[in-house]
């Protein structure tokens, strides 16, 4: 995990923003890819999945941070998994009660939040070492970053693959939907394209920095 010192962190705006951009769980750390690819064939699914994951992430991080001194080191991973599985069961039943359509659309992927490595990664790398309030803010940021990533895939795939956004038509009437985008290969392609875009932006920024540094000494 990106070089966090082992001592407790001071609360700052950066605690939240880091998860959103600099250490975005999906685009930068490449964690939790399965739900990102699987449920983003429509924007609505992406939002629901993002919120559900954020809830589990925040709730389990807070609980783990609260009892971090009580968990023996040897069985910590098993304890984290049981805590996460408990909250996922809660979410699973809650979504079933709120909207059965949504529940059927997301399918097994609600229960598979248990196996989302973003959550276990946060528990191990952050919540087990940090104080309650920083953990809360940091996990909120990570959840927001995860939701943002889901949204950026979901919107692109729905607009291109179906010509709609949240169910409303947004493309001209004679637009031919790219059906492949809402099928499995589309998930890989769109995520690949986003990563390509970020890599290209990073490369440009690095080059500009290099030029700024190199220019005075060039002559």
């Amino acid at each position: 995990m990106a070089g966090l010192p082992n001592q407790t962190e001071k609360l700052s705006l950066d605690t939240f923003l880091r998860g959103l951009w600099e250490e975005n769980p999906v685009f930068v750390m490449l964690l939790g890819m399965c739900p990102v690819l699987a449920v983003t064939n429509s924007t609505m699914n992406a939002i629901a999945m993002g919120l559900a994951t954020t809830f589990v992430l925040v709730a389990s991080s807070v609980l783990i941070s609260l009892i971090r001194n009580l968990i023996p080191k040897q069985v910590r991973i098993a304890s984290y998994i049981v805590i996460i599985a408990t909250f996922v069961t809660v979410v699973d039943y809650a979504i079933q009660a709120i909207s059965l359509d949504l529940y059927n659309a997301l399918g097994a992927f609600i229960q598979l939040i248990v196996a989302n490595c973003v959550i276990l990664g946060r528990a191990e790398a952050y919540a087990s070492k940090q104080r309650l309030h920083t953990t809360l803010v940091n996990s909120l940021g990570m959840g927001a970053g995860f939701t943002l990533a889901l949204l950026s895939l979901g919107t692109v795939r729905e607009v291109l693959g179906n010509g709609t956004l949240l169910g409303y038509a947004v493309m001209p009437a004679d637009f031919q939907p790219w059906v492949v985008m809402i099928l499995p290969p589309g998930g890989f392609f769109v995520l690949g394209a986003w990563l390509l875009l970020f890599a290209w932006l990073k490369q440009r920024r690095d080059q500009r920095l290099l030029q700024q540094e190199g220019a005075p000494h060039a002559g």
């Binding site: 399965c34 408990t86 996922v88 069961t89 229960q111 890989f188 995520l191």
Partner: protein, 193 residues
């Protein structure tokens, strides 16, 4: 779903609804350990074994929890059993092949959070397979996972020799490749349910 033949279940899990390329399960190890064919093969076998164990255990868990009327504990029980099975495989590999243990690295304990395995347990419950069907389903899923991993590793070994733009190296390129592979697997869609 009593009527499904075993051959159909196997083919369906391995090829038509390939866990990695059609259902998006187990993407992390798929991208993480697919850079060399040998590692991919061993990872595939380790996953296959864990899948078999957890599929059989899931069947037993369903029976016990059904009798006790405690189905809401299902998820927690599955994940606990999977974690123990992974621990078993890890100890086994560490003892018999330390070099393999090193080459799999962090991805070995991470089989626990491989959603393909938890997904398998959930799907076989949803499809109401009996014991033999569950075992065949697990074998098919494991074989499909290994197949996808091996194909990807083969492609990536070739890719190392190819001259791609520097900006697209790494994860972006792997995802594009996976997309093409997944497109190819869609050709099987007509075969299954």
């Amino acid at each position: 779903m009593q009527g499904e033949s075993l051959g159909f279940i196997f083919l369906n899990a391995a090829v038509v609804n390939n866990f990695v390329l059609a259902l998006f399960l187990g993407i992390c190890p798929f991208l993480g350990v697919s850079s060399k064919k040998e590692t991919a093969w061993n990872m595939g076998l380790a996953t296959l074994f864990v899948m078999l164990v957890s599929s059989m255990s899931a069947y037993a868990i369903n029976w016990v929890l059904g009798e006790l009327d405690l189905m809401f504990l299902r998820l927690i029980c599955y994940i606990a059993v999977i974690a123990s099975a992974v621990q078993l495989v890890e100890m086994f590999i560490k003892k018999f092949s330390p070099s393999l243990f090193r080459s799999l690295g962090i991805f070995l304990p991470l089989i626990t959070t491989n959603c393909a395995i938890l997904g398998l347990a959930l799907f076989q419950t949803a499809k109401e397979y009996d014991f033999v069907q569950s075992v065949v389903y697990a074998l098919g899923a494991g074989a499909g996972f290994t197949l996808a991993l091996m194909l990807m590793a083969g492609l990536r070994e070739k890719l190392e020799l190819a001259d791609v733009p520097a900006v697209s190296q790494g994860a972006a390129m792997s995802l594009m490749l996976a997309g093409l592979l997944s497109l190819a697997f869609m050709g099987f869609a007509g075969l299954g349910a």
